[in-house]
């Protein structure tokens, strides 16, 4: 299978700072993969994913999206295939009403007006935005603004959906919406990249995690492998979900636990297997 995103020796240095925000990273992402990107604040997560839609161009190295080198492409051209939900919704929203905001993307894709409206309706239903449709995006709360940001990309149905910290600072209900979104995108066969500090979310929804530290890609593996790697976790000051930590401890103590549990359900089945023995 052709990778949908291919990164070759990517380095990015911002023109203002002398910081190397991303160092010599190479990786491939296949269509349909659900990938988490983790790392401390300032480790280069946003910088890395902004390359996939061309908002940033490599200082050196190459980024190939859908078989095309992004260097000569404009953001507008890539945006038909790649949707990026900004970390800060204030940088994403610009229209006068939420409705216009949701319709802006699909209109640019030259869809017929009834298709645009249908997509807006679907997004409104999915993200529960009924009450907000006629409001100015600046007049609604930050967490809701973030949902509107996601919805505005969702209406475009991009092949690659990038979420930059979708759950940071969100209450339980909006967080649940993010879960539903990622699961729905997975079912529809989209490729998803999710930058997050929320390990519980990632443990549940992603197949693969990229771990960044000071601009280096230090690990690229399944969540189970990443969470089990004590050195990686402590050197990046990340902590696995509590249930995973518990299962790791129990495995150390009684080696009868076969697998590392990522969720409560998995833990329950491990305990059942253990007590059956």
């Amino acid at each position: 299978m052709e990778p949908i995103i291919k990164v070759e020796d990517l380095t990015h240095i911002y023109p203002t700072g002398q910081v190397v925000a991303v160092k010599d990273i190479s990786l491939e992402i296949n269509p349909g993969e659900i990938v988490g990107v983790i790392g401390q604040n300032g480790s280069g997560k946003t910088t890395l994913v902004k390359h996939f839609i061309g908002l940033l161009k490599p200082t050196s190295g190459k980024v190939i999206v859908n078989g095309k080198d992004t260097a000569p492409l404009r953001v507008q051209q890539i945006a038909a295939n790649v949707g990026y939900v900004y970390q800060n919704p204030n940088h994403q929203l610009f229209a006068r009403t939420v409705r216009e905001e949701l319709a802006f993307g699909p209109r640019n894709l030259d869809l017929p007006e009834d298709e645009v409206n249908a997509r807006v309706e679907q997004a409104v239903e999915f993200f529960h935005l009924e009450e907000l449709l006629e409001l100015h995006p600046y007049r609604i709360s930050f967490p809701l603004r973030k949902l509107v940001g996601m919805a505005s990309i969702y209406t475009m149905r991009p092949a690659v959906f990038i979420l930059d910290e979708p759950t940071t600072g969100q209450d339980n209900i909006t967080t649940q919406t993010v879960y539903r979104l990622i699961k729905k995108l997975r079912d529809e066969g989209s490729t998803v990249l999710c930058v997050a500090h929320d390990m519980i979310l990632l443990a549940e929804v992603v197949d693969r995690m990229l771990v960044l530290r000071d601009g280096d890609l230090i690990m690229d593996a399944t969540p189970r492998e990443v969470f089990s790697n004590y050195e990686i976790m402590s050197s990046t000051h990340l902590t696995p979900p509590q249930i995973t930590t518990l299962s790791l401890r129990l495995r150390e103590k009684y080696d009868a636990f076969d697998n590392v549990a990522l969720s409560i359900d998995e833990m329950v089945s491990e305990v059942q297997k253990f007590s059956n023995k």
């Binding site: 023109p15 953001v75 507008q76 945006a79 900004y86 940088h91 006068r96």
Partner: protein
């Protein structure tokens, strides 16, 4: 993502000029402004300009200055074109040469050249002051000589609004591009102006809330984190600046022979060449600027 940033702000450095208190620099910049408006004499204006450039070089802010000058020069060229066919002089005007419906006037060329020099003399000195002084030092100094704090603050904020707007514009444009904004050219740029200004107003509202929550309106003496010292030399420089400005202005008013508008006669070929050069220069600038904006 990199927009066209006009660097009208301090360029950090440690030159003699950086170390001078902002007040004498302000006094001299203001003096040059007064003199520039008092005279049209090309020699005086170009001398002020050249001295200003030398000081810019001494302060080692030449690069930043050049960026400003490269934008200012083509724009000021329009003055030459406009003035040459419609001089800001009392009639009657002396025609030099006619090209089609346009007549180029002696007074026009004189006036165009002197306005260009005037703009450059003034801005060079103003840039020298701005690029070598920390903004808050300028305002602390102004406050010391009695400028009201609120007025001062409004000035500072206005100066900061330009970069805020530039930044806001880049943010909105990027957001729209990330949603496959179609087309390029003004059709695409114009709609993004609306959210830029709405966004800027939002920001100003937030600013006023955060100001009030930090007791901006309260009365009493405001202190400043940065201290500005005034040495004997600074005071001497201010006095010299005032004397120089007063002296020059007096000379300009008294000595009528400084008005060269009659005596400095331009050859028709020179006049046409200058006007053509100015037109082409300005058009080239517009084309380049548009291309930069549209590619952004």
């Amino acid at each position: 993502m990199q927009g066209v940033v006009i660097p009208i702000s301090m360029v950090p450095g440690d030159s003699i000029i950086h170390r001078i208190n902002p007040l004498p620099k302000l006094a001299w910049a203001f003096g040059v402004l007064v003199i520039s408006f008092a005279t049209r004499n090309p020699l005086i204006l170009s001398t002020l300009f050249v001295v200003g450039v030398i000081l810019i070089l001494v302060a080692q802010v030449g690069n930043a200055y050049l960026k400003v000058a490269m934008i200012l020069f083509p724009i000021s060229l329009t003055l030459i074109v406009l003035q040459s066919i419609a001089p800001a002089f009392p009639k009657p005007w002396t025609p030099i040469v006619s090209v089609g419906p346009f007549t180029i006037f002696q007074e026009g060329i004189y006036s165009g050249i002197s306005m260009l020099l005037r703009i450059f003399a003034m801005t060079t000195w103003a840039m020298l002051m701005i690029m070598t002084s920390h903004p808050s030092d300028i305002f602390t100094s102004l406050q010391k000589i009695g400028m009201p704090y609120v007025l001062n603050f409004i000035l500072t904020m206005t100066l900061q609004l330009l970069p805020i707007l530039q930044n806001e514009f880049a943010v909105v444009l990027n957001a729209q591009k990330s949603r496959a904004m179609k087309g390029s050219g003004f059709g695409a740029i114009l709609p993004s102006m609306v959210p830029v200004f709405v966004g800027a107003i939002e920001r100003v509202q937030q600013l006023s809330i955060s100001l009030e929550s930090r007791a901006f309106g309260s009365s009493g003496h405001k202190t400043s984190y940065r201290r500005v010292r005034m040495t004997f030399w600074d005071i001497l420089l201010i006095v010299l600046g005032i004397v120089f400005t007063a002296g020059m202005t007096y000379w300009i008013i008294v000595d009528k022979s400084l008005d060269w508008s009659e005596t400095m006669v331009f050859h028709p070929a020179f006049a046409i060449g200058l006007v053509v050069f100015a037109t082409l220069g300005f058009l080239a600038f517009v084309v380049i600027a548009l291309r930069n904006v549209l590619q952004a």
